[in-house]
């Protein structure tokens, strides 16, 4: 039964596909049908027809997955939700995609997003805003908006997203799904179209922590095409706390609670109370280094974006840079195709890297980042995790914040921390408020991704959040 299929998680689907009780084409077609029925959510930029995967022995054989549209897929257009790459066909697969294909996955399609990953709401797309299945007038969070919506609305059992400053966790929080950003370097970035390369990671959006761990297990590991990728734990694991008999200790950061709205704070506090009653110990910590974290994040991200997006000149792909005009005017003409948010960030980064300002912005941001990283590494010697809300507010109405961009930037305050430090972080749904999901964020110690996933699974089990959009 088709409704049966869409209610199954990734792990269960894989088990049944391997057991022979389900057929790969049937699973794919069921999802494809639902994708076509729910185009109003605008979750997909490109949806695909079924293409059987020959890897029958693969550990994920027959599992259909959605892929964020900034992850390169050979022969499948990859747009970054930008007019700049509207018709771009990558001639190669990203390593994460190649690994999924090799494990037997079939790709359902490429999901909508904020252009080049620049946005926290899913509204900055050249293909139109993605809509939240819990309330289609509201934003689903971004930038991996389509991936989160696809998972939340049962258009896909799970999806790949990317996370530069919270781009997996924010939409997971707004759509009531699980969003996992691995440690920096744990998943190869080869083929991930760069926005801010020292901050971003490919990760998973799924219905459960267990499903996220399943996909992560397939895409993780050192890759010869990414020199920052690794599969060893660079920090010896015994410097972190040892897991002992289910007794966990979490750090709370009350200094950030000013940013958090009343609704979210209530939901968060009651989750803390619940976990506390289940024997999880919490203590409050003040981390001075967090004061300038968000600012340093935006400096680093804009500076990196400036250079990463310089290659879009229309000479090889994208809007044709007219060869009959002179170089600068032709390139400038092609680059008008970037959206406003992208233009603003490129320009700001360009300014902050120019002579005399590099030291005033970029180097200072690096310094703040280094201190934060050291401080949180130290903190993780006394705690198993840092626990905060994922997003400080509930999903807002589409268009509501258009005149207040700074307010949208501020909503990243809790998620950028893990991108600055490189630590793994996961958002899990903890409650509904006013009929909208609220996410809780767990940040672990750099390199201890498996432990964070284990912990998140335990905590999810204790909070017992159940619920899906009625769409």
């Amino acid at each position: 039964m088709s409704s049966g299929i869409i209610s199954k998680g990734a792990r269960q689907l894989v088990d049944e596909l391997q057991g022979g009780s389900l057929e790969a084409s049937k699973v794919f077609e069921t999802y494809r049908k639902r994708i076509n029925e729910l185009t109003k959510l605008n979750a997909f930029i490109t949806s695909l027809e079924y293409k059987p995967n020959a890897r029958k022995e693969g550990s994920l054989y027959g599992l259909p997955l959605a892929i964020k549209d900034n992850i390169s897929t050979e022969g499948i257009r990859t747009t970054c939700a930008s007019l700049m790459l509207k018709d771009y066909m990558p001639p190669y697969d990203a390593t994460a995609v190649a690994k999924l294909k090799a494990a037997g996955v079939s790709i359902l399609g490429k999901t909508n997003m904020d252009e080049f990953g620049m946005g926290s709401s899913g509204e900055n797309s050249a293909f139109g805003p993605t809509r939240n299945p819990w309330d289609i007038e509201r934003v689903p969070g971004g930038s991996s908006s389509g991936s989160a919506v696809a998972v939340s609305a049962r258009l896909s059992p799970a999806a790949l997203g990317t996370d530069t400053g919270g781009s997996i966790r924010a939409p997971a929080s707004f759509t009531g799904t699980v969003g996992f950003k691995p440690s920096y370097g744990y998943v190869s970035r080869y083929g991930l179209i760069a926005y801010a390369n020292s901050l971003e990671q490919i990760g998973v959006i799924a219905r459960t922590v267990d499903d996220a761990a399943l996909i992560f297990g397939v895409i993780r590991g050192k890759d010869r095409f990414d020199s920052t990728s690794t599969d060893a734990k660079p920090v010896s694991s015994n410097t972190g706390r040892l897991f002992s008999g289910g007794h966990f200790k979490g750090a709370l950061l009350p200094q950030l609670s000013d940013l958090v709205s009343k609704d979210v704070r209530e939901a968060f506090d009651s989750s803390v109370a619940k976990l506390d009653s289940e024997g999880i110990e919490f203590a409050e910590e003040r981390v001075e280094e967090l004061e300038l974290a968000l600012k340093s994040y935006y400096v680093v991200a804009c500076c990196e974006a400036t250079t990463n997006l310089a290659r879009y000149d229309g000479v090889r792909y994208g809007p044709v840079a007219d060869p009959s005009r002179d170089w600068k005017s032709a390139i400038s003409e092609s680059r008008t195709m970037f959206g406003k948010e992208v233009k603003a960030r490129i320009m700001l980064g360009s300014y902050m890297l120019s002579s005399g300002y590099y030291e005033e912005y970029y180097l200072k941001a690096l310094y703040i980042r280094r201190n934060l990283k050291l401080r949180l590494l130290k903190l993780s010697e006394s705690y198993d995790f840092i626990y905060t809300p994922t997003m400080p507010v509930l999903p807002w109405k589409i268009g509501e914040m258009i005149d207040d961009p700074l307010q949208v930037y501020l909503s990243d305050a809790l998620t950028v921390i893990a991108n600055l430090t490189g630590a793994p972080a996961i958002s899990i749904p903890i409650a509904l408020k006013k009929g909208l999901p609220v996410g809780g964020q767990l940040q672990g110690r750099y390199g201890l991704d498996d432990r964070l996933l284990e912990l998140a699974a335990t905590i999810s089990g204790l909070l017992k959040f159940r619920g899906e959009p009625s769409i």
Binding site: G191, I193, S227, R311, Y358
Partner: protein
Amino acid sequence: MIGLEVHVQMVSLKSKLFCACPTDYRGKPPNTNICPICTGLPGALPVLNIKAVEEGLKIALALHAEPSTASYFFRKSYFYPDLPKNFQITQYDKAGGVPLAHDGHYTLKNGKTIRIERIHMEEDPGRIYYEGGRGESRFSLVDYNRSGIALVEIVTSPDFTEPEEAREFLELLQKNLDEIGINVSEYEGSVRCDANISYAGGERVEVKNISGATEVEKALRYESVRQRNMATRGVKVRRETRSWDERRRITISSRSKEVEAEYRYMPEEDLPPVSLNQTIIKNIALNMRGSFEDRYRVCSKYGVGEEAAKRLAGDPALYTLFMSITGANEMDASRVGNVLANEFAFVVKKHNNPSLSGDTSSLENIIRAYIRNGDRSRFISAAHSWVSGIPVRAEEYKPKVDIDTLIDETLEKEMKNIGNLEGKRRLDYLMGQILKVSSQLNRKELYIKLQKKLEGLG
């Protein structure tokens, strides 16, 4: 004043600097030697060819430069058709960056030392063709086959005064690169050069993209004449970038690039820093020496006698000293080799396993002084100090001036000037001339000897 920025392709590598594309791009049809990385496709990442670091260090050592302990890559941003990412991955000595090596030197035949400021690695851009020539075509045709080929950039201080010195430097450098296994002379266009040139009163002019030693001399000659003519006409030379047109043999002002001085350097976070530990560097130095046969061949080529060549080739430490002292300077190489293999080896034997890691330029001075004055006992004593690691002062090896020779030389030179001078005036004049050359002489001794000499002449 002339300074050079020399770009050397590391032609000994089999693959490009940041991707696995082959390096044999010459003669291939356009855009056949490319991959996602060297065409800057979205999502592609650079991965460093570790052999390039070794080759870069070889070059650094051949130029007596100091390798850094770690080395970072930077992005240098500018928009240009041959640059697929619109930034070049290079190294930088400011903004927190560290190049591969720094502070080297190189000696020309006339004994002049050219300082090397820094040596860094970077990627070669693609090539641009213009149908019907640069002046004619309305568009550019880009070939990325060369894009990403590993380059080493050698930046000299503005120590050259004459165009022929720049040519000589490049010739010696090329020869030296061949010597250490980077056979640039076999590959056309593998050594390219930008030259900075300024004459008194004028600002610095940069002449870009000159290929090879002879062209450098021609371009610099042209530019020096042009700048001097401007000065004579009272026109001020302004800071600008020009390019060398080989065919027309002139430099042409390039308007487009000078406004783009804002390179917005930033660290390349896709490439972790390269750690250059001392063991790696020592191993490279050892490998540079090659086999006994290689070393013997090099010594013979430099004109070192058979026995001495065998001794140098058989002792890697001596051989390394020989190579770093002679460097590209072949003048005296055979004599330096003989001194190292005989007198110096004799001194070394008296010590118990000395490290021979002292300052080679000081040893070079000691040896060259010995070659000039033949004072064996002074040489032996200075060499003992050097081997023991004791700093050697110039007085210890500088030649003692031979008064008699000096008197003879001066007399010969001054003969026509002293014809109408008599007695004491003649003596005083000659005293003055000799002391002008060598002020440290014992005046009394000189006076007596000179007096005797003049008496002998009658």
